[in-house]
Protein backbone atom coordinates (compact mmCIF):
# COMPACT_ATOMS: atom_id res chain seq x y z
CA UNK A 1 0.00 0.00 0.00
CA UNK A 2 1.26 3.48 -0.87
CA UNK A 3 2.27 5.34 2.27
CA UNK A 4 3.93 8.59 3.36
CA UNK A 5 5.45 9.10 6.80
CA UNK A 6 6.72 12.44 8.04
CA UNK A 7 8.99 13.11 10.99
CA UNK A 8 9.14 14.69 13.42
CA UNK A 9 5.47 15.41 14.12
CA UNK A 10 6.42 18.73 15.64
CA UNK A 11 9.61 20.76 15.73
CA UNK A 12 10.49 23.84 17.72
CA UNK A 13 13.44 25.94 16.59
CA UNK A 14 15.04 29.14 17.64
CA UNK A 15 15.32 31.79 14.96
CA UNK A 16 18.45 31.08 12.94
CA UNK A 17 18.67 27.43 14.03
CA UNK A 18 18.82 25.31 10.87
CA UNK A 19 17.19 21.87 10.71
CA UNK A 20 15.64 19.27 8.39
CA UNK A 21 12.23 17.67 8.06
CA UNK A 22 11.95 14.11 6.80
CA UNK A 23 9.45 12.47 4.48
CA UNK A 24 9.79 8.75 3.84
CA UNK A 25 7.57 7.06 1.29
CA UNK A 26 6.58 3.65 0.05
CA UNK A 27 5.03 3.53 -3.39
CA UNK A 28 4.95 1.07 -6.25
CA UNK A 29 6.23 3.82 -8.51
CA UNK A 30 6.80 7.53 -8.03
CA UNK A 31 5.53 10.09 -10.49
CA UNK A 32 6.41 13.02 -8.25
CA UNK A 33 6.93 14.14 -4.66
CA UNK A 34 5.45 17.42 -3.50
CA UNK A 35 6.07 19.71 -0.55
CA UNK A 36 3.33 22.04 0.65
CA UNK A 37 3.14 24.60 3.42
CA UNK A 38 -0.09 25.02 5.38
CA UNK A 39 -0.92 27.90 7.68
CA UNK A 40 -3.75 27.64 10.25
CA UNK A 41 -7.18 28.02 8.67
CA UNK A 42 -5.80 27.93 5.14
CA UNK A 43 -5.32 25.35 2.44
CA UNK A 44 -1.96 23.82 1.51
CA UNK A 45 0.31 26.12 -0.48
CA UNK A 46 2.58 24.55 -3.10
CA UNK A 47 6.33 24.76 -2.49
CA UNK A 48 8.22 22.20 -4.60
CA UNK A 49 7.90 19.21 -6.90
CA UNK A 50 10.69 16.63 -7.16
CA UNK A 51 10.63 13.91 -9.78
CA UNK A 52 13.80 11.84 -9.55
CA UNK A 53 16.40 10.76 -7.03
CA UNK A 54 19.19 13.28 -6.70
CA UNK A 55 17.00 16.23 -7.63
CA UNK A 56 17.12 19.37 -5.48
CA UNK A 57 14.95 22.50 -5.44
CA UNK A 58 15.49 25.73 -3.50
CA UNK A 59 13.30 28.65 -2.52
CA UNK A 60 14.54 31.30 -0.13
CA UNK A 61 15.48 29.50 3.12
CA UNK A 62 14.05 26.15 1.98
CA UNK A 63 15.75 23.37 0.05
CA UNK A 64 14.12 20.07 -0.84
CA UNK A 65 16.04 16.93 -1.79
CA UNK A 66 14.94 13.50 -2.97
CA UNK A 67 16.31 9.98 -2.72
CA UNK A 68 14.70 6.69 -3.74
CA UNK A 69 13.13 6.26 -0.32
CA UNK A 70 12.80 9.70 1.24
CA UNK A 71 12.84 13.44 0.86
CA UNK A 72 14.23 16.12 3.12
CA UNK A 73 13.13 19.69 3.53
CA UNK A 74 16.09 21.67 4.82
CA UNK A 75 15.39 24.97 6.52
CA UNK A 76 18.38 27.29 6.77
CA UNK A 77 18.40 30.11 9.34
CA UNK A 78 14.63 30.01 9.82
CA UNK A 79 12.58 33.05 10.77
CA UNK A 80 9.34 33.17 12.81
CA UNK A 81 7.35 33.60 9.58
CA UNK A 82 8.48 30.11 8.55
CA UNK A 83 6.26 28.70 11.28
CA UNK A 84 3.64 26.48 9.65
CA UNK A 85 2.76 22.85 9.01
CA UNK A 86 4.84 21.35 6.20
CA UNK A 87 3.16 18.60 4.22
CA UNK A 88 4.77 16.01 1.99
CA UNK A 89 2.72 14.23 -0.67
CA UNK A 90 3.48 11.67 -3.36
CA UNK A 91 1.83 11.08 -6.67
CA UNK A 92 2.12 7.36 -7.32
CA UNK A 93 2.27 5.56 -10.61
CA UNK A 94 0.50 3.75 -12.10
CA UNK A 95 -2.56 5.82 -11.38
CA UNK A 96 -2.58 8.61 -13.89
CA UNK A 97 -2.52 12.15 -12.65
CA UNK A 98 -5.13 11.71 -10.02
CA UNK A 99 -4.40 11.59 -6.38
CA UNK A 100 -1.85 12.97 -4.01
CA UNK A 101 -1.12 10.81 -0.98
CA UNK A 102 -0.27 13.05 1.95
CA UNK A 103 1.73 12.51 5.08
CA UNK A 104 0.42 13.80 8.39
CA UNK A 105 2.74 16.81 8.31
CA UNK A 106 5.38 18.39 10.53
CA UNK A 107 4.30 21.36 12.67
CA UNK A 108 7.19 23.81 12.74
CA UNK A 109 7.38 26.61 15.30
CA UNK A 110 10.23 29.13 15.01
CA UNK A 111 10.70 31.35 18.03
CA UNK A 112 12.56 34.70 18.09
Amino acid sequence: EDQVTQSPEALRLQEGESSSLNCSYTVSGLRGLFWYRQDPGKGPEFLFTLYSAGEEKEKERLKATLTKKESFLHITAPKPEDSATYLCAVQPTPGGYNKLIFGAGTRLAVHP
Binding site: F34, K42, G43, P44, F46, G96, Y97, N98, L100, F102
Partner: protein
Protein backbone atom coordinates in the same frame (compact mmCIF):
# COMPACT_ATOMS: atom_id res chain seq x y z
CA UNK B 1 -5.40 35.79 -10.57
CA UNK B 2 -8.21 34.55 -8.34
CA UNK B 3 -7.45 31.41 -6.39
CA UNK B 4 -9.60 28.41 -5.60
CA UNK B 5 -12.67 29.53 -3.67
CA UNK B 6 -14.74 27.36 -1.38
CA UNK B 7 -18.14 28.03 0.19
CA UNK B 8 -19.07 28.03 2.98
CA UNK B 9 -15.95 28.34 5.12
CA UNK B 10 -17.74 26.71 8.04
CA UNK B 11 -20.89 24.61 8.34
CA UNK B 12 -22.50 23.10 11.41
CA UNK B 13 -25.35 20.67 10.75
CA UNK B 14 -27.24 18.02 12.64
CA UNK B 15 -26.83 14.34 11.97
CA UNK B 16 -29.18 13.29 9.21
CA UNK B 17 -29.28 16.65 7.50
CA UNK B 18 -27.94 17.46 4.05
CA UNK B 19 -25.03 19.78 3.30
CA UNK B 20 -23.68 20.98 -0.04
CA UNK B 21 -20.16 22.31 -0.36
CA UNK B 22 -19.14 24.39 -3.34
CA UNK B 23 -15.80 24.88 -5.05
CA UNK B 24 -14.89 27.42 -7.71
CA UNK B 25 -11.58 26.42 -9.29
CA UNK B 26 -9.05 28.69 -10.93
CA UNK B 27 -10.36 29.70 -14.33
CA UNK B 28 -9.05 27.44 -17.07
CA UNK B 29 -8.05 24.58 -14.79
CA UNK B 30 -9.46 21.35 -16.19
CA UNK B 31 -8.48 19.23 -13.18
CA UNK B 32 -10.50 19.58 -9.99
CA UNK B 33 -9.92 17.52 -6.86
CA UNK B 34 -11.71 17.05 -3.56
CA UNK B 35 -9.76 16.06 -0.45
CA UNK B 36 -10.74 15.67 3.20
CA UNK B 37 -8.95 15.87 6.51
CA UNK B 38 -10.68 14.32 9.48
CA UNK B 39 -9.55 15.11 13.02
CA UNK B 40 -5.97 14.06 13.69
CA UNK B 41 -5.53 12.34 10.33
CA UNK B 42 -3.76 13.19 7.12
CA UNK B 43 -5.41 14.81 4.12
CA UNK B 44 -7.03 12.12 1.99
CA UNK B 45 -8.09 12.10 -1.65
CA UNK B 46 -11.80 11.83 -2.43
CA UNK B 47 -12.15 12.28 -6.17
CA UNK B 48 -10.85 13.89 -9.34
CA UNK B 49 -12.68 15.59 -12.20
CA UNK B 50 -11.29 16.33 -15.60
CA UNK B 51 -13.58 19.02 -16.92
CA UNK B 52 -17.08 17.65 -16.18
CA UNK B 53 -16.08 13.97 -16.09
CA UNK B 54 -15.22 11.98 -12.99
CA UNK B 55 -11.75 10.57 -13.60
CA UNK B 56 -11.32 8.80 -10.28
CA UNK B 57 -13.74 8.57 -7.38
CA UNK B 58 -11.98 5.79 -5.53
CA UNK B 59 -11.62 7.88 -2.37
CA UNK B 60 -15.33 8.61 -1.89
CA UNK B 61 -16.21 6.99 1.43
CA UNK B 62 -19.74 5.79 0.57
CA UNK B 63 -22.85 6.57 -1.43
CA UNK B 64 -23.91 9.34 0.94
CA UNK B 65 -21.40 11.52 -0.91
CA UNK B 66 -22.22 12.91 -4.34
CA UNK B 67 -19.93 15.18 -6.34
CA UNK B 68 -20.84 17.04 -9.48
CA UNK B 69 -19.09 19.47 -11.76
CA UNK B 70 -21.54 21.35 -13.89
CA UNK B 71 -20.26 22.31 -17.32
CA UNK B 72 -16.71 21.72 -16.22
CA UNK B 73 -16.67 24.85 -14.09
CA UNK B 74 -17.58 24.89 -10.41
CA UNK B 75 -18.10 21.71 -8.40
CA UNK B 76 -20.38 20.71 -5.55
CA UNK B 77 -19.99 17.98 -2.97
CA UNK B 78 -23.21 16.92 -1.28
CA UNK B 79 -23.41 14.81 1.83
CA UNK B 80 -26.83 13.25 2.42
CA UNK B 81 -27.60 12.26 5.11
CA UNK B 82 -24.65 13.52 7.13
CA UNK B 83 -23.16 11.34 9.87
CA UNK B 84 -20.93 12.31 12.79
CA UNK B 85 -17.86 10.77 11.16
CA UNK B 86 -18.22 13.10 8.19
CA UNK B 87 -16.93 15.97 10.29
CA UNK B 88 -13.65 17.39 9.07
CA UNK B 89 -12.14 19.91 6.69
CA UNK B 90 -12.98 19.47 3.02
CA UNK B 91 -10.46 20.88 0.57
CA UNK B 92 -10.90 21.54 -3.10
CA UNK B 93 -7.93 21.90 -5.42
CA UNK B 94 -7.49 22.62 -9.09
CA UNK B 95 -4.64 22.29 -11.53
CA UNK B 96 -3.70 22.63 -15.13
CA UNK B 97 -0.39 20.87 -14.71
CA UNK B 98 -1.09 17.44 -13.18
CA UNK B 99 0.03 17.25 -9.57
CA UNK B 100 0.79 20.91 -9.03
CA UNK B 101 -2.52 21.62 -7.42
CA UNK B 102 -3.71 24.90 -5.95
CA UNK B 103 -5.85 24.43 -2.87
CA UNK B 104 -8.77 26.41 -1.52
CA UNK B 105 -8.97 27.45 2.11
CA UNK B 106 -11.25 24.54 2.94
CA UNK B 107 -14.73 24.09 4.38
CA UNK B 108 -14.86 23.02 8.01
CA UNK B 109 -17.85 20.71 8.42
CA UNK B 110 -19.11 19.84 11.87
CA UNK B 111 -21.88 17.28 12.23
CA UNK B 112 -23.53 17.29 15.66
Amino acid sequence: EAGVTQFPSHSVIEKGQTVTLRCDPISGHDNLYWYRRVMGKEIKFLLHFVKESKQDESGMPNNRFLAERTGGTYSTLKVQPAELEDSGVYFCASSQVPGRAFFGQGTRLTVV
